[in-house]
């Protein structure tokens, strides 16, 4: 089999997008939460002062987001919603709730989509520096 044909076969069987696992990353230094639920090549688009969307380069579809000031949100949420749990974690989808009033009515569907994609993922209620117990 020619090399190009073998490569074609290999690439067809190795679709990175199919194997992508949604993930999120909390960064204490930049006070941000980054969340990706799709593995497409992306670019960013600012939605509001605190929310940046990641959209696929090919189709302009939502693949993730970045939230600035995540520590303030984690600190403030318990004032409005009962987020207490034995495991010390809260649902990731809750962090999108405070921004509903910050974006235009037409863009609230985007936030709802992010919250839907984040369902089932949890984040720690308190941010700690790496290595802190």
């Amino acid at each position: 089999m020619a090399v190009s044909k073998r490569l074609e076969t290999f690439l067809a069987a190795t679709t990175i997008a199919d194997k992508f696992q949604p993930y999120h990353e909390l960064n204490l230094e930049t006070d941000t939460l980054t969340f990706y639920f799709r593995g497409d090549a992306d670019y960013s688009k600012r939605l509001s002062d605190h929310v940046t969307l990641y959209l696929s380069v090919d189709k302009d579809e939502l693949v993730g987001c970045r939230i600035k000031g995540i520590s303030g949100i984690l600190e403030d949420l318990p004032n409005y919603i009962d987020v207490t749990g034995d495991d010390g974690e809260l649902q990731l989808s809750l962090v999108f709730l405070p921004f509903r009033g910050e974006v235009k009515q037409s863009e609230q569907r985007v936030l709802a989509n992010l919250a839907k994609q984040a369902r089932g993922q949890t984040i720690p209620r308190h941010l700690k520096p790496c290595g802190a117990s």
Partner: protein, 49 residues
């Protein structure tokens, strides 16, 4: 290994730094209409080009 890719038309690669020069984020952004070197919806000072 080095991978070189050209930018898609209408996009620029932006590296955001804070006031102390620490890198905050790097990402592709759409360019500003009429100024292809400037990323869209970015506040602050453009250091380069």
């Amino acid at each position: 290994m080095t991978v070189q890719v050209s930018a898609k038309a209408g996009f620029v690669f932006a590296i955001f730094v804070d006031e102390y020069g620490n890198i905050d984020e790097w990402t592709w952004r759409q360019s500003t209409i009429g100024d292809p070197d400037r990323p869209d919806s970015v506040e602050g000072k453009l250091l380069w080009p």
